[in-house]
């Protein structure tokens, strides 16, 4: 019998494609630096401080722009929902997973943006994935900025539309591509308000005008602007006076709102059909009741957060000015958002600088390709409205000492 068993074929290791990355990581860690991608926060003390490796650390890389994570009203709402509705919904939004809290947070979003429809997803990633892959179908064209977030690219990849990227923030490159699309094809232009790697904003006013002149629908991801850019914190499109021309705004609860979840708001008269056709909305469990309760409370408080917004901008301007003066190379010449990207000469010195800052008691994000544009290594800092002026001063001192120790300034 055994003679008749065919010989086992040599097994190709499906992991061999990761070998270059495994090697990059190995050689980086061999230099003795702490692994920048496996930090553990042992205790979180406030929106701006945590205990990491037993040391009190200032947090400067959390996207917790408005410091809502420890807001007493937000926490109370979450606890009450946990008591009254339980730990989770165990179901899809379209089956058993829509509780009163899910409706309430969608109502809060409609009011926040002044729009007719709001649809809440389990994460911001899923909001982009779901909306983009569902509305742009076979034969349609998606025209998008080359520096778009991974969730936008993945939404493009999951759908059947033709995908046409253009050079970052290049109005003319976008217009040329729109004009070359065959007549009659559906067009979706995808833009972001703030690009999270360098912290720069998009010229939405011109881009949206051109998109509309060329018959395209427009989707803008305002993940990094909600709560503090624009007169009502609705984002860069509001700030530039063009929010009414945006067909779909995508956003997240995991930044200024201070919890987790994603959403799309729209005035499209047929928008509600998305709840039945958008697979990343249908085929996953809805957010836990405590999360939607914290989000709704936070969003309503963000409507009246003028003073906090002003302080966040103050922090951003102060740190941007101080780092520029110290001689660091930054992602933007002027502060355009609450993100300040410090450009590192290479990955190795970036990791050394990251570790030197951590030893000083400062956490920032180390960002590297493919997440970053043009192969850059960045130390990405995001400020919080709860950072005190004193903390910003301390942070500047830490950057100065670490930068000199590593030889970057």
């Amino acid at each position: 019998m055994n003679d008749m068993t065919p010989p086992e074929a040599a097994q190709a290791d499906l992991f061999s494609k990761f070998d270059p990355l495994i090697e990059t990581r190995r050689s980086l860690l061999a230099t003795g630096v702490t692994d920048p991608f496996s930090l553990v926060m042992e205790k979180v003390l406030s929106p701006t401080t945590a205990i990491c490796s037993g040391r009190e650390t200032i947090l400067l890389g959390t996207y917790n722009y408005m410091g809502m994570t420890f807001d007493p009203d937000v926490i109370a709402a979450g606890k009450q929902a946990l008591d009254e509705f339980g730990a989770g919904t165990t179901g899809s939004r379209v089956l058993n997973g829509t509780y009163a809290g899910h409706r309430a947070v969608e109502d809060a979003l409609k009011e926040f943006y002044g729009m007719d429809h709001a649809m809440v997803f389990s994460t911001g990633y899923q909001a982009n994935l779901g909306i983009i892959s569902t509305i742009a179908g076979k034969g349609d064209y998606i025209v998008l900025d080359i520096d778009s977030h991974a969730s936008i690219w993945d939404g493009c990849k999951m759908g059947d539309a033709e995908v046409v990227p253009f050079k970052h923030n290049d109005i003319e490159a976008m217009e040329k591509r729109l004009k070359r699309i065959p007549a009659g094809a559906g067009k979706l232009v995808v833009l972001e308000g703030v690009y999270s790697m360098l912290g720069d904003i998009a010229p939405l006013k011109e881009m949206i005008r051109i998109a509309k002149e060329n018959g395209a629908m427009v989707l803008v991801d305002e993940a990094h602007s909600m709560g503090f850019i624009g007169p009502n914190g609705r984002g860069v499109a509001e700030d530039q006076g063009v929010l009414d021309d945006v067909d779909f705004v995508i956003g997240t609860f995991s930044k200024s709102v201070g919890t987790v979840g994603g959403f799309c708001v729209s005035n499209h008269p047929k928008f509600e059909i998305m709840r039945l056709v958008c697979r990343p909305y249908v085929f996953t469990a809805s957010l836990p009741p405590s999360v939607v309760a914290t989000a709704a409370t936070s969003i309503r408080k963000l409507m009246h957060a003028g003073n906090k917004r002003a302080h966040l901008w103050e922090n951003s301007r102060t740190l941007h000015g101080a780092l520029t003066q110290l001689g660091f190379k930054l992602g933007t010449a002027e502060p355009q958002s609450a993100i300040i990207a410090v450009i590192m000469p290479d990955l190795e010195r970036g990791a050394m600088m990251w570790e030197a800052l951590l030893r000083e008691g400062l956490y920032v994000n180390l960002a590297r390709p493919p997440a970053t544009p043009a192969g850059m290594t960045l130390l990405r800092c995001s400020l919080c409205a709860e950072h005190t002026a004193e903390q910003v001063g301390i942070i500047t001192g830490m950057f100065e000492r670490a930068g000199k120790a590593v030889g970057i300034i």
């Binding site: 033709e162 990227p165 050079k167």
Partner: protein, 79 residues
């Protein structure tokens, strides 16, 4: 425009991107032989699009690996 004319114009667009002076023929591959990374590919595609006033979507780019395939694709896209 005939195939030879398209080929000649593409060759001109390739030249400034061909940093190692690799000799180009129909089977020369962009990623393998010319060793272009994704950023170079992006800039090159934009240059080709502008040269011929066409769109080469990401979906179509996935099917184009060599100089010869690009000539055929541009010929088709030009109609």
């Amino acid at each position: 425009m005939d195939r030879a004319a398209i080929a000649a114009r593409i060759a001109e667009v390739i030249e400034p991107f061909n940093k190692n002076d690799v000799k180009i023929d129909e089977t020369t591959s962009f990623a393998g032989d010319l060793e272009w990374d994704s950023l170079t590919v992006m800039d090159f595609v934009a240059a080709i699009e502008d040269e011929f006033d066409i769109i080469i979507s990401m979906n179509q780019q996935a099917e184009i690996e060599t100089y010869g395939q690009l000539i055929d694709a541009v010929a088709t896209l030009q109609g």
